[in-house]
Assembly symmetry: C2
Homo-oligomer: 430 residues x 2
């Protein structure tokens, strides 16, 4: 039963992702029509530079007036692939008010204003879908909010930024330092000219906020996510990791506290055992590990960025939203009923790998061990290495709260025999 | 906005999966109600042995008359976890006719009669969901038919049977033979007393039929799936695989032909490179690798069986179907519009690893090479090993059709100098 009046889709943004969405909508028009139950028609494309030639897109559809486009009133779906907060936010809200559902790939906006956007969608009885906002092509938002809707998710831990994974993988496999690996990532187009959003963990933190919100049915804002970049990871850290049978990844970790009464979300570099499935995620790939009560351990793996992969996720949402339009229903909206408190980083409990530069004389280990004990941080292993009158101590702890560890490190810095704290790295995935 | 009249759910079967579904419906009742928008109520449980004590289930709900239960007329959803063809098929059809939607975990039935069941669902305006039928807890049916609905899937290749993966992993890691590894799997409860359905690939073939159908929007019946078990895989095969930098897995492979005009589906043991993500899938875990035009390579990993994981998948479907009931819509039904022909095994193109026992005399390699050439099968590498007057030849081919390879092997068997064909193994994932 094919409806013949086409569904009208407007595209906001026609860059790497948008042009690929437009291309697939044209080349796969018959397939999309079959899968939706009605043809879809590209009704308008809002761009900043209208003079640019866009292959396969009717120039008559191109406009610089995005606001007028979303106000047309005859649109079924608006696809937002501009990115950034404004004008994307206002355009999405305006689209809802003028009768369209929205598919967005905008992680920054969703992480910052997800609740308000969901509310606007619901008020207007429209859909807001955003599979492409997290981990590119990897189906993750839908599995978390639909497939696992009958389960209780306890942890989501993943590599959700391809740029940083490329850099860390390069450091791991070649022994290169951070700057050298970053330069190669830039040269190959994996890192942007200004890599701050990636290497400082802002991009991953936005995704962590979105994932934690869905996983725990709780509003988690970008500000709630602890964030530590990976610019200070050194070749020496990778050597330490190897000695422990580990590698280093920039992880986004969303956890439910043991007692179930609160959640945490954080982004930081961490050592993980080479036997962990996330350890073997190479290059710019992404992977997300999910642990739940009934399903156990699941992993989702795939390309986390790029025009085509992101377009795949956008189009999957487009099909779902179009199907909803035809049936007069809407898909699952925001689910924040659990409203669990988001605990600060100090309450996170994990293990730590700490390298100290210490004086090479008797009694140092006893002093250091006393400081750990006084702060309630239990030591798993210590390795002592002498070098030219100096020595290094590598301490790996049992599980302890981040606050206890911070207190321990502050006290260690005050010891005369401790020359410096060379590195502190969390150990995850054990 | 919570509706107070509960949705009524009947459970057909209360074994390992069913009892876990019932348990979670009770213990997570509040969460399920929030996520659905209305409470769900267990309205009846059909079992074979009513005398068995079932903890947490009101004995007043238990009945042996499954037919009367599905005919009640007030049910919203029937969850079928009996398995097998009958009475499951008739009960599901009857449930549709009496107004209920259905969630099923029944791969054998879906693979054999999926089209008829989908038709019955559609006629009655009801949902048929079956995430649990393939790869247990791993979200796979929903990602394939919804997340990738705007993409073109070219290949689905996976480990979809935990029992055989446990056995093969054991053989790989310990050097054990098939029987020894099977005995251990049986002792640990990973293999059933009669392991035929698993080790002969029937279970994997059913899943391959379901996956191919969804991936290619084409009806693929169980009979269309080429099936070869793994009972003849030997310790020697694993040694050969190691020499090639490979391991051996029982794979379900669904492929679109290069020209896009036909598809194939098959289950057989195959060598895959140790670097392939599927190679590191250990124990009874499942993983499915998906390749599509836009998304590229995706992988889904998790527990493929067991009461809790399967219950997680069933409950995810239950939430979706209940939400659909409330909104008056139905989810995606069968999508078979592409109706591509399913080609026989002879048309499958892949690489082969062939071990021959040959006479240890000059000219044998030339004879063997000639036979390959005459059948249009190009040789990649040959390794010759002498042993006590006998010799073995290991040939790895370039890509060739299964029909050409079969012809080659038949001709090789007729050579006087070929004493026997020790093993033929396909090589995948390169």
């Amino acid at each position: 039963m094919m409806r013949t009046r086409p569904l009208k889709v407007a595209l906001l943004g026609c860059g790497v992702v948008g042009s690929e969405v437009a291309r697939i909508m044209t080349t796969h028009a018959d397939d999309l029509a079959q899968r939706i139950g009605a043809p879809v028609e590209l009704a308008g494309v809002a761009v900043r530079r209208p003079s640019k030639v866009r292959e396969g897109i009717d120039p008559g559809l191109v406009t610089t007036d995005a606001t007028a486009l979303v106000k047309r009133g005859d649109l079924d779906v608006v696809v937002e692939v501009i990115g950034g907060i404004e004008p994307a936010r206002t355009l999405i809200t305006t689209a809802f008010e003028h009768g369209a559902s929205v598919v967005s790939a905008n992680k920054a906006l969703l992480a910052q204003d997800g609740a308000a956007l969901h509310a606007a969608a619901e008020e207007n009885g429209k859909d807001l879908y955003y599979e492409a906002a997290v981990a590119g092509a990897i189906p993750l938002v839908r599995p978390l909010r639909e497939s696992l809707a009958g389960d209780k998710i306890n942890r989501v831990m993943g590599i959700v930024n391809g740029t940083t994974n490329f850099i860390l993988d390069k450091m791991d496999s070649t022994g290169a330092g951070y700057q050298e690996a970053l330069d190669e990532a830039t040269a190959l187009g994996y890192a942007e000219a200004d890599p701050t959003a990636d290497v400082e963990g802002f991009d991953a933190a936005a995704k962590a906020a979105i994932l934690a919100g869905i996983a725990f049915h709780t509003r988690v804002r970008l500000d709630d996510v602890y964030r530590e970049g990976m610019t200070e990871v050194t070749a020496a850290d990778f050597r330490s990791a190897k000695e422990m049978g580990c590698t280093i990844k920039l992880l986004a970790i969303c956890e439910r506290a043991q007692d179930g009464a609160s959640v945490t979300a954080r982004v930081h570099p961490a050592m993980i055992p080479l036997t962990h499935p996330l350890a073997s995620v190479r290059g710019a790939y992404n992977a997300v590990f999910v642990e739940s009560d009934a399903a156990g351990q699941l992993m989702f793996y795939g390309p986390g960025a790029g025009g085509s992969p992101t377009a795949s996720a956008v189009l999957g949402d487009l099909v779902a939203v179009c199907r909803n339009r035809l049936s007069g229903a809407t898909g699952p909206g925001e689910s924040a009923y659990a409203a669990l408190p988001v605990s600060p980083m100090g309450e996170v409990v994990t293990r730590y790998h700490i390298s100290l530069d210490v004086a090479d004389k008797p009694g140092v280990l006893a002093q250091v061990a006393t400081v750990f004990a006084e702060h309630g941080v239990s030591i798993d292993t210590v390795r002592q290495q002498g070098k030219d009158g100096e020595a290094s101590l590598v301490v790996v702890t049992h599980r302890a709260s981040d606050a206890s560890l911070t207190g321990t490190v502050e006290a260690l810095r005050k010891l005369d025999t401790v020359r410096g704290v060379a590195s502190i790295m969390r150990v995850e995935g054990e």
